[in-house]
Amino acid sequence: MRMMKWNRGLVALGMAAAGVVALASVASALVDPASVTTEQSGSVIIFPKVIWDGSRDTIITISNTANNMAFAHCFYVNAAVRGQWTETDFDVFLTKQQPTHWNVSAGRRTLDLTSSDPNTAGLLPGSVPPVPQGFKGELKCIQVDEGGAPTRSNSLKGEATLRSLNGDVSKYNAIALRGNMDAGADEGDANDLTLDWTVNHSGEYSSCPDTLLFDFFAYGADDPVISELGDCDSAEGGCPITTTLTLVPCSENLELQQQGTVTVTYIIKNEFEERRSGGFVVDCFLDLPLNKLNLTQTTDPNGSFTVGGLGTLTGYARITPNPGAGGVIGIAEEVRQSDNDVSGRATTAAFNLQVEGNRFDGATNGDDEPRNGATDHIIIPGE
């Protein structure tokens, strides 16, 4: 009891030190700046997985959550060929609270106010180019002002729907980096977006997470619901859950066409609290099934994420960039199917990863000075 009272007393002391300041916080501080977010609007929104390969198409929806115009400079990064990523950019402008959408296969290029087709009706958000067939990569949109300079107004949100030709759909929220509206004008290169805003550091944009929290079903494990209610004969292949993880580095130099490379370490706990660990490299864009999540990116039926290697139905992975490295962000997609899936009717469910901490503080030396290379930057081309 005494300890509890002392504890409460300390809490009260802490509150006394902070209370007045906290109460006076400005409206923008209602949002925790220490992390990226998938459910609040931001100044940079990132769609880590965009595909147009003839089989899967991607529908992008973006909206302006503010009551004044929002402008954005968007970049497609095509990472279909490893080591040869290419970038295409375009502008988007949205009126008050305006939503818009486009298919990446077709883009959105014409304004036809007389059109009765809802697929093309609406105020044109700018000319959005299509991506070439075979595109696989990310889309990144950065809020800018009318002159094209980055601005931290936090008005953008978005979603991506991956749709297969056979009708399967999978949807995730874009990942948003919040801009620090209280940080004042950028004193350096305005086109160098520094991801260093944390609860401990009044930087420009939200720092990327220090750790990704990834709850997953063991790769290849039979889905328990389909096993019980549906068609899941092990002699016909069972009804495995197969998950794909997609990660992209937070740092990106779009001026010099240099994409980040980050080596990450993972620590897994299964349901018995048994530990597995390993690592892999995120080189520009990683999109791999869990049975290939290793340094050589080759199939390992007994890998840590697989039903053979994990030992339980589900696992919990903590994915952390190696010391001194920048951050990574991403999504995952789970695929389920009944047995003997000859007609390719697998169903896919995308979801956002959960996050913990921030890379800026996580990579510091303890004196608020980040280690070399550990602060993420997004550098966009000058106008």
Binding site: T37, I226, D231
Partner: protein, 450 residues
């Protein structure tokens, strides 16, 4: 002789994390104050979040329909993980919101199905003549769990998890204790009380010794809570079939973060809001959606499907002790791609799942009345819209709401899921918080028998 309760306590105490927890909380109490004072610009607390761990974990929608009464056979796979490096515990509250016929309480129904029986697989009303389908809000006995360091668990809602992985009674070679000698003690999750079942689940992080509400134990997130979770709703065609199909949609559980700067008084009344024990729920929700019945064309015109969106909302506050319900009014502000603005409103008391077009028209689609909804493409004319959902203040227990959205894409033929339909689920976006005390969650003291 060791009773189950004693065994549980011993298991919890085998690790050193329980004791170190107190020190950790004290350290954080000091540090948090200094941090807040030093960095005012970034000091205020976060809102709720589905992408970060929390001390209250909410699954707004759980479905079980094993026999396919309302839809293809369906169950919900639930995952919860302790993200911290300490033993934690949680008290969980499952709420049964399955609507029932007021003249036959044993028969489950849906408001939409009774209004438009074409929505039922059988095509006929389920309630006896003269019956109405009315909402239910009935709490099941709460259950408790202890999770070891960074331990994930999973279970199907229809079966529960009667025996946790690290059960001291496990026969060799199945592990009974984790590497630190900890176990899940006598943790147990009961199956949902009925089939079909609609409902929600909330879990509150508690002290593993007293089972009273507490802050989190992880300094990396300033003690804001250690629980993350996800729910996957899986539908399948029944049994062996040459045309078997499955469909799955997934959302992250919503976490409400504890305010370690304020601390937690440990009683069963949880206060949510600015400078309260827990962060306040959002001032408004934002849903970006395709307007109902829009035909979305992809693959350069080679594929198309008709889309509908279902919204599920729950009050942020709840009184599990007295089962008190009070209506919440929601204001909807809808913008289409022409920036044209529309508005509507509705109210609910406990849990509501509704197709967007039913928000402002009669339930179901009798006489194509959905075509006249402001959430329908036939009214809006554009494919996508942005809807801001603002709960009206003024209710004592619950002022704000949380929710998820589901999309159902139906093709005229082909498709991957049952009924040529494929679905997605997603978390809504949040805007702002409200000053002061917004919501209260009052826990009950009953516990499911183990």
């Amino acid at each position: 002789m060791t009773t189950p309760e004693m065994g549980h306590m011993l298991a919890v105490r085998k690790g050193d994390d329980v004791m170190s927890t107190m020190k950790g909380i004290m350290r954080r109490a000091i540090l948090s104050g200094l941090v807040v004072a030093a960095f005012a610009a970034g000091s205020a607390r976060a809102d709720v979040a589905s992408d970060k761990s929390g001390a209250i974990l909410i699954f707004p929608k759980i479905i079980v329909d094993g026999s396919g009464v309302f839809a293809p056979p369906t169950d919900t796979e639930l995952q919860i993980t302790n993200t911290s490096n300490s033993v934690i515990a949680a008290r969980c509250f499952l709420v049964d919101t399955t609507p029932f016929c007021n003249n036959d309480p044993d028969t489950s129904c849906t408001v939409e199905g009774e209004a438009d029986p074409r929505l039922y697989p059988g095509g006929t009303k389920r309630c006896p003549a003269g019956g109405l389908c009315v909402p239910r809000w009935q709490k099941s006995p709460d259950f408790r769990m202890t999770l070891t360091k960074r331990q994930p668990i999973s279970w199907g809602a229809s079966h529960g998890l009667l025996s946790f992985p690290l059960n001291p009674q496990n026969p060799p070679p199945t592990p009974a204790f984790g590497p630190g000698g900890q176990s899940n003690g006598n943790s147990s999750i009961a199956p949902v009380p009925r089939d079909p079942f609609f409902g929600e689940l909330r879990c509150v992080q508690v002290d593993p010794s007293s089972f009273q509400p507490s802050t989190g134990l992880n300094p990396a997130n300033n003690g804001s809570g250690d629980l993350i979770g996800a729910a996957t709703i899986v539908e399948t065609t029944p049994g062996e079939s040459s045309d078997s199909r499955v469909d799955a949609r997934k959302y992250n559980a919503i976490g409400i973060q504890a305010n370690a700067d304020v601390g937690n008084d440990g009683n069963d009344t949880l206060t949510l809001g600015t400078n309260q024990e827990y962060n306040g729920c959002p001032n408004a929700l934002i849903l970006n959606h395709f307007f109902d019945d829009a035909t979305v064309t992809t693959h350069l015109g080679a594929a198309s499907a008709s889309v509908k969106t279902n919204l599920t909302v729950i009050p942020c506050g709840a009184d599990y002790e007295l089962n008190t319900l009070r209506p919440i009014t929601l204001q909807f502000l809808v913008y289409n791609e022409f920036e044209q603005r529309f508005s509507s409103s509705t109210s609910f008391s406990c849990w509501r799942e509704v197709q967007l077009s039913d928000l402002d028209t009669r339930p179901g689609n009798v006489n194509d009345n959905n075509d006249f909804s402001i959430f329908n493409v036939n009214v809006q004319g554009t494919l996508s819209g942005q809807t801001r959902i603002r709960p009206v203040a003024g209710n004592g227990i619950g002022n704000t709401v949380l929710g998820i959205a589901e999309e159902f894409w139906t093709q005229s033929s082909g498709g991957t899921g049952p009924g040529n339909t494929s679905s997605t689920a997603g978390n809504l976006h949040f805007v702002g918080t409200r000053p002061g005390l917004n919501d209260t969650i009052i826990l009950s003291t009953d516990e499911a028998p183990n």
